[in-house]
């Protein structure tokens, strides 16, 4: 029993060392984060403002911009996470990954740490979306518990999609193929979800796809936590259960694939 506790503590500590490593890198070179921040600006200020005029999309008691803001936050998290896997291809080409794998760091801690560091990057995007939302007058919920809930959701979802991205990176192995597949994958995740329109207006087959898409549950949780008048369609319990289960499965696959990167 005692050894299990020591093992778990050590596992979490090692994962956090990997997160620390990525945060230190980010601090030295924040260019990528600034570039990524352009996208939510375009979606909220251009797309959002125009569609808010049409009133074509039924968003219940929320204005369209209110409805859209959590969706765009989820989208920024998705994009920054899904291209994060590229770094392991780079590290593998150089030989950095070999050194980590020859150290006594558990493979699972490498997989979890790398994925959670996507969470750290995603939080910078959350800050950008919050500032934008304030500027365009989205009615936000400033309750500290709700804010903690948003942070938790963002980190959890970023971990999920980063793990997915790492798996793709381990399978395709080259940067060129990864870029191609990354582009192809992000759009379906985004459009087959409730991020920019409610699922109820979709054709039935697309509704089924959207219900199998983890992004839907992330957006649902964010809508409930982020907005003053927000509500969850599925309930936060369902949202977090889906997100945590998906993350656990993906991290497990990632742990299994990690050592193959050194062969």
């Amino acid at each position: 029993m005692k050894s299990v506790i020591i093992g778990t503590v050590s596992f979490i500590r090692k994962s956090l060392v990997i997160v620390e490593l990525e945060i230190r890198k980010m601090r030295h070179d924040p260019t990528e984060l600034l570039m990524r921040a352009v996208q939510p600006v375009l979606w909220l200020l251009l797309f959002g403002e125009v569609f808010a005029q049409t009133r074509a999309i039924p968003t219940g008691n929320l204005s369209y911009l209110d409805f859209l803001a959590p969706g765009i936050l989820a989208q920024s998290v998705l994009f920054i996470a899904i291209f994060g896997g590229m770094s392991v291809i780079w590290e593998r080409d150089l030989g950095i990954i070999h050194k980590f794998l020859a150290s006594p760091t558990p493979r699972g801690a490498l997989a979890l740490g790398k994925s959670m560091s996507g969470g750290a990057r995603a939080l910078t995007q959350a800050a950008v979306v919050y500032i934008l939302a304030l500027l365009i007058g989205v009615k936000m919920n400033w309750n500290p518990l709700a804010l903690l809930g948003v942070i938790f959701t963002v980190v959890l979802a970023a971990t999920l999609f980063s793990a997915f991205s790492l798996i793709i990176a381990f399978l395709v192995r080259t940067r060129e193929r990864f870029m191609g597949i990354g582009q192809v994958l992000t759009m379906p995740f985004f459009f087959a979800s409730n991020a920019i329109y409610p699922i109820s207006i979709m054709p039935p087959w697309l509704q089924a796809v959207a219900h199998g898409n983890p992004l839907t549950y992330e957006v649902d949780a964010l809508r409930a936590l982020m907005l003053e008048n927000g509500t969850s369609v599925y309930g936060l319990g369902v949202d977090f259960t889906v997100l945590i289960l998906c993350t656990a499965v993906l991290i497990t696959i990632c742990t299994y694939l990690y050592p193959r990167a050194a062969t």
Partner: protein, 268 residues
């Protein structure tokens, strides 16, 4: 005491036998060299011994631990410097060491002293807070070696430690390797394709050719064995491995060449 022992260690990639029935023993405190041309199986052997690559058959132990069944115990007692560039250019030298000090469980109160000591030993103390991508090739290599020995490993694996370095930096790294053995009581297991380097540094060498050990002994033993006046290790190699220095194309060549060149460019 034998600190590394391999027993018919074999690794196949499809039809290619990259490492063929390797059986060698390395004594504690030795500087042992694995010598051979590109594609001879040196890196494959070192990857198996550092637990990165599972053997297809055979077995090996490092410091008494089995490389397959006690892999995590092996990882605790070894240091490894890959052939390719393994220091992170987007971090400072200090940060590169800090992260590995944490991953190797060096206690917090000792951490800064160890990092400081190793940086002084490697003559990098003044550059600790510069980003590694501004370092010279020789400095990067020294940093990588520092990273791999901070936890006082019992065996240090160096895969082509001087590849891509200019002659001056090469000599500095060579001196360092001898120093490491003398001051830290580590066993050094290194690969190289440079005959004169092996001659200078290694107590014993194994000459690998097409995955097999063609000859094994101290450089002077090997030289006298071929019975030629004033023989160099180069002559020894030709004698035991035939005249062809380059292994024949096996499809891995292009990728390997690409990686070697890239490493060389970034270090140079």
């Amino acid at each position: 005491m034998k600190i590394i022992e391999t027993n018919a260690l074999t690794r196949r990639f499809g039809d290619l036998i990259a490492c063929d029935n390797l059986s060698i023993a390395v004594e504690q405190g030795e500087i042992f060299g694995l010598l051979g041309p590109n594609g001879a199986g040196k890196t494959t052997a070192i990857k198996m011994l550092t637990t990165l690559l599972p053997p297809t058959s055979g077995n090996a132990s490092v410091a008494g631990y089995d490389i397959v069944h006690q892999a995590s115990a092996v990882r605790r007692v070894i240091g490894y410097v890959p052939q390719m560039l393994s220091a992170d250019g987007t971090l400072t030298g200090y940060e590169n060491l800090l992260i590995f000090a944490k991953l190797y469980d060096i206690p917090r109160r000792e951490r800064n002293k160890r990092i400081h000591d190793v940086m002084s030993f490697m003559d990098l103390a003044d550059d600790a807070n510069r980003l590694v991508r501004t370092y010279s090739g020789g400095m990067i290599r020294r940093l990588e070696i520092a990273q791999s020995m901070m936890h006082r490993p019992r065996v240090l694996f160096l895969d082509e430690p001087t590849i891509g370095l200019d002659p001056l930096a090469r000599r500095a790294v060579g001196d360092l390797i001898t120093d490491l053995r003398d001051n830290y009581d580590a066993t050094i297991f290194m690969t190289t394709h440079l005959m004169e380097e092996a001659d200078l540094l290694c107590g014993r060498v194994a000459i690998m050719h097409r995955g097999k050990v063609a000859a094994l002994g101290s450089p002077s033993e090997l030289k006298s064995a071929i019975g030629k006046e004033g023989a160099t290790l180069e002559d020894v190699f030709v004698h035991f491995a035939g005249s062809e220095i380059e292994a024949e194309g096996d499809g891995r060549d292009y990728r390997e060449t690409q990686q070697t060149r890239r490493t060389a460019r970034r270090l140079g």
